[in-house]
Structure formats: structure tokens, C-alpha cells
Symmetry: C2
Subunit: 340 residues, 2 copies
């Protein structure tokens, strides 16, 4: 796809971070919304929200009932996939099998079997894929990523990440494992993605716990969880993943990371990135790395690269699903791919 | 021991937190230093530091070469034990077998076998014992303990604790497992003690990693480590334990805890205790709980209680030793006593 050629975008589902894609329309005049369909029509999911947003952007896509029929008949370049979490992997597979590039809500899959199938279809498809791990584009976390790469903390030895959300009142798809996928995959994707992205290490084992106790009648939704990973280079990583942020807190999420290395410690907290090393304590200057969907389109056009590669999208998904299995079974789970 | 009766204190070893006991002499006129001996005479440890400090306090204890001979012949009421870490359990056993109360550096033992033996001797001895887990007496951590007990965060769901020290230049006893015991036991005792003390839950399993890589020629000393515990009540706890604090940092240690519950989050950081709950964000008023050694003497006298019980001293020791075993063997380790 050359840069001056129109890029046809199909929207499947209206959940999660579809705003990432909608924002892209403001920056890229070549984008054209070619169709909208629900991602989880069987569960009564309605794509009204996307239709309205696209209309405000001057787009007039057709509204479909069946996402696969839409892919078949409108032949889009890119599918933005954000149905209920449990449906997204199958939709992505349908898209990739038709040569359609995929921009998909995280986690990319909610079962290990579907992830395996996705990887296989992807490897034969020649398409591009990115999961909506948009917090790599957060200015503070990106600053930490760059600083670690530049050697600000020396060699990374331990990482601790935190994702803490307000519970509020979650709708039905969050209350069942089948549609939701679980708190470690859904909330934890970002935290676990930061860990390997920022450290540059690979996961070797994971041990995790999650609990649905005290979840205020949210069915199977796990209110609290934590995980520990051993990594290459004898790096230890821990993550706290929960819905325990009080509703009265100033912001929805309390995202943190601490990266401790042989010559310094870098932290993100309250949107600030702070480095402590031989030069004392310094607040890092934040710089925007750009925009995830714009980068993804540029990557398809051959003129750029998304910070979230397909391999990383699958790898983070693998990590959250193995962590979930560890928590489900209360066992230590090794990573089969850790020698990659 | 009545309150007006003299209390004879023998010092064995001059390492670790003997200052706790020395401070007690300022508060309790009934204390008398009855003898001083090295805790690790075979390793050339010298108790000069304690002798000098006691002299400044107006005490003139005899100096012994053999700690057991000193116990036999001076018949002290209390032994303050702080030789090299690997020697302390055997010394405590010698003291307890002679009916001498024990105030001992943490960890109370550096092998699981010695811990078992200590527990057995203790249970038959009728003496009192406390490990020097003096950070229960830290004003910020004590404030968090009280606030959790008072229901400030509702039911605890996850805990994350951090102990991060400067490495500096450690002397020979820190460089070998046999004398040092390991970083998880030595540095981690406090963090792991806070976890069960503050949460009120019991440990069920532990998984941990430690690494001696990049330790700047410190032999077997583990520079970095992390552990994850599952606990009763489906509570998850993680701990970061390391010597990664830059030498230029303002304070030696960076002690933290985050306790997240069903209705609030409590944290200690930089010496402050902060509560976030339905009332917004509040800094807790810090109140001193008293002094660990004074409380221990009062407990012996029957007029008070130390915040660190013998059971807790042993339990925290068990937890750090099981965590160390998990890290040594890269396996998940269950707690045999978790049904207590």
C-alpha cells in the first residue's frame, strides 16, 4: 500500500480501544471506513458507538450484521477488531485468512489453543498484525523504555509493574471467563508487556494468583491478582494487577513500573518518569513516540514501524495466558518458547 | 523477673542490630551487662564495638572468649545474639537450653534444619525469644499495621513489599552463604515479616528468584531477588529484595509497602504512610509504638509484650528460608505449616 492510496478500514466490534483507530482518521486522510459490523453479534453486541464516531469523522461506512460477510464482500485492507474479548481471536483468524491486516484489542486471544492457531495463520498470511498495547505509547513508559535502552540503569535486574483500575460497575461481558478472558489477560496485558519490552529479556517461568473474592457481584471477574516471572539473565519480575483502586481516586488507573538495574532505578508513577542513578534523582523529559494506529498504517505502507510488533503481540498474549493458567491451577508454568 | 530486679544481659557477637539492645540500657535502669563474647570466634569476630558502647553506658561487663562458657558461668537472664548470621541459631539453642531468654538478629536461623531444632528447643525451654525484626517498630509501618487492623482498607487482597539497600562494600561474612545466609533471609526478613504481620494472613506457597550476577565481586551474595507468596484468603503477596539502591541515594534503604484491600489502599514510601480510600488521600499520623528491646524486657518481666513474638520470629524465618529454597531450586515451595 503506497502512502497516497486509499486504505480501507473495517471495524469489527465497538469495545475496548477502538478510539486508537478512530484517532488515526484525524491524522491520515487516506483512511476510509469501508464497513462496520458487531464483533459479538451472538451476544447482542451493537456497533452503534463506532458508527456515530465515524459519522462525526465524515465517514459513511456500510453497517453489516455479519463480520465475516463484511470481510468477504468489502475486501478491506485492515480490520480493527474489538468485539468481546473471547471472540476476537477467531475474528482475527478470519481476517488474516482473507489477507486482511489486523489491529486487535488485547489480549489477542483468550485461550492458548486460539493463540497457537493465530500464530500459525499469521505466519502463512503475509499480513501485518498489532495488538492494542497502546501503553507502549504512553509518554512516561516510552521515556523509561528509551532510557533503559540508553543504559540509564545499567543492566536490568528486577522489574515490578502495577496496573490498578477502579472496578466501578462492569457490564455482562466482563463477568464470564468465556467473554472476558480474565483479569490477568485483560488488565495485566499492559503490565506484562512492559516487563519484557522494557527489560529486553524473555520469560522463562511464571507463577500467579488471581481471586474473584469480594468482587461485588461481578461473577467470575477476578478482583485481585499478582504474578511473578523469572526471565533470561536471571531477571526477576513481579506484577500487581487489580481492580482495587478506590472509586474516589483522581484517575481511573494507577499505572506504575520500577526497573532496577546495576547502576540505577527508573520508575513511573502518577504519569511521571523518574531516574535515580549516580547523577542523583532526575525527572525524565517526556516525549511522545507518535500514535499506535498511525504507526501501524505506516508499517503496512512500508514507511514506518509500530512499537507493537506481531511477535510481541503474540508473546504478551502467551505470557498473560500462561500466567492465568498458573493462577487457575496453582502451579508453576514454564514458557515453551523461552529459548527463542 | 520483677520490674525492680536487676536483669543480666549477655552480649554474644557485635553484628547487626545490637544497637536495639544498647538503646534499651538508656531506658531501663534495671539492665546490667553481665558479659560480652564474640558470636563467631572461629571466624575471628571481635566484640570490641559492644564493649566500647557498654563502657560509654557505664557498664563494665567481663569479656569472654567462649560464648557458651560465658552462658554457663555468668548465668545471664537474656542473651543478645548477633554473631555472623550462620552462627546465631546454634548460639540461641545453647542459650535456651540453659534457660536464658534470647534476643536474636534476623534471620533467627539460616538453615531449615536449625530452625526446626530451635523451635523444638524453644517449645521445651520456657524462655522468651524475639528476633530483631525492628522494622515493626518503624513509625510508618506500624501506622499501616494499626490502620489495616482498624479496617482502613477493608479486607486485604494484595500486598507488595520492597527492601532495597545500597550495596556499598560488604565484608567477608556477607560473601558466603554459610556465614551470610543469603539476601532473601537477611534483607528480605523485614519485607516478608511485614507481609504476614500486616495482612494477618498465613503463607501457603512461595516462588522466588535470586541472582548473584553483577554483584561487584561480592562472592555468593545475591544482588537482586524477588518472591511471590500465595496466602490464606486468596491473598497474593510480592516482594522485591535487592542491593540495587544507588550509592548516591539520600537514604540507605528504600523501604516500601502497598496494601490493597476491598475498600482502600495503604502505602509506605519515603517514611510516609498514605491511605487512599473513600475519604480521598490522607497521610497517616505516625505514632511510635515504643522500643523493641524495652518491650521484650517488659514481656520477660510480665508487664508488656514485644510486637515480635517467638512464633512470628520463627514463622518469618521459615518463610525466608522456604523462599530461598525456591530460588535455589527454581521450584514452587509449599508451606508445611500453613494450616496452623
Amino acid at each position: 500500500l503506497g502512502r497516497n492510496k486509499r486504505v480501507k478500514i473495517a471495524f469489527i466490534g465497538s469495545n475496548g480501544h477502538i478510539n486508537y483507530a478512530l484517532k488515526g482518521f484525524e491524522a491520515l486522510p487516506e483512511l476510509e471506513a469501508s464497513g462496520v459490523a458487531p464483533g459479538s453479534p451472538g451476544a447482542g453486541e451493537k456497533p452503534d458507538k463506532v458508527m456515530q464516531a465515524l459519522s462525526r469523522l465524515g465517514q459513511s461506512p456500510g453497517l453489516w450484521e455479519d463480520p465475516v460477510a463484511m470481510l468477504e464482500q468489502t475486501k478491506p485492507d485492515v480490520a480493527v477488531i474489538a468485539g468481546y474479548m473471547g471472540d476476537n481471536a477467531a475474528l482475527a483468524i478470519q481476517a488474516m485468512q482473507r489477507g486482511v491486516h489486523v489491529f486487535i484489542e488485547k489480549p489477542a486471544a483468550t485461550t492458548e489453543e486460539e493463540l497457537e492457531q493465530m500464530r500459525e495463520v499469521y505466519s502463512r498470511s503475509g499480513v501485518q498484525l498489532a495488538a492494542m498495547l497502546g501503553l507502549r505509547y504512553d509518554r512516561a513508559f516510552y521515556a523509561v523504555y528509551l532510557a533503559v535502552r540508553a543504559g540509564a540503569v545499567g543492566t536490568v535486574r528486577t522489574v515490578h509493574a502495577q496496573k490498578s483500575y477502579k472496578l466501578g460497575r462492569r457490564s455482562a461481558p466482563y463477568l464470564e471467563r468465556g467473554t472476558y478472558g480474565g483479569t490477568i489477560p485483560w488488565v495485566g496485558s499492559h503490565a506484562i508487556d512492559w516487563i519484557h519490552w522494557i527489560s529486553g529479556e524473555r520469560f522463562k517461568t511464571v507463577y500467579a494468583l488471581h481471586s474473584a473474592l469480594y468482587n461485588r457481584s461481578h461473577g467470575e471477574l477476578e478482583l485481585s491478582s499478582a504474578a511473578m516471572f523469572t526471565m533470561t539473565g536471571e531477571v526477576a519480575a513481579t506484577a500487581n494487577i487489580d481492580f482495587l483502586r478506590p472509586d474516589q481516586a483522581a484517575t481511573h488507573g494507577d499505572d506504575r513500573i520500577r526497573v532496577a538495574g546495576t547502576s540505577g532505578v527508573l520508575e513511573v508513577r502518577a504519569g511521571k518518569a523518574v531516574l535515580l542513578n549516580e547523577g542523583g534523582e532526575t525527572e525524565l523529559e517526556l516525549q511522545s513516540p507518535g500514535h499506535i494506529f498511525v504507526d501501524f498504517i505506516r508499517q503496512i505502507q512500508g514507511t514506518g514501524a509500530c512499537l507493537v510488533s506481531a511477535d510481541d503481540s503474540f508473546y504478551t498474549t502467551e505470557a498473560v495466558l500462561l500466567a492465568r493458567r498458573s493462577a487457575d491451577d496453582n502451579t508453576l508454568v514454564p514458557f515453551p518458547s523461552h529459548k527463542i
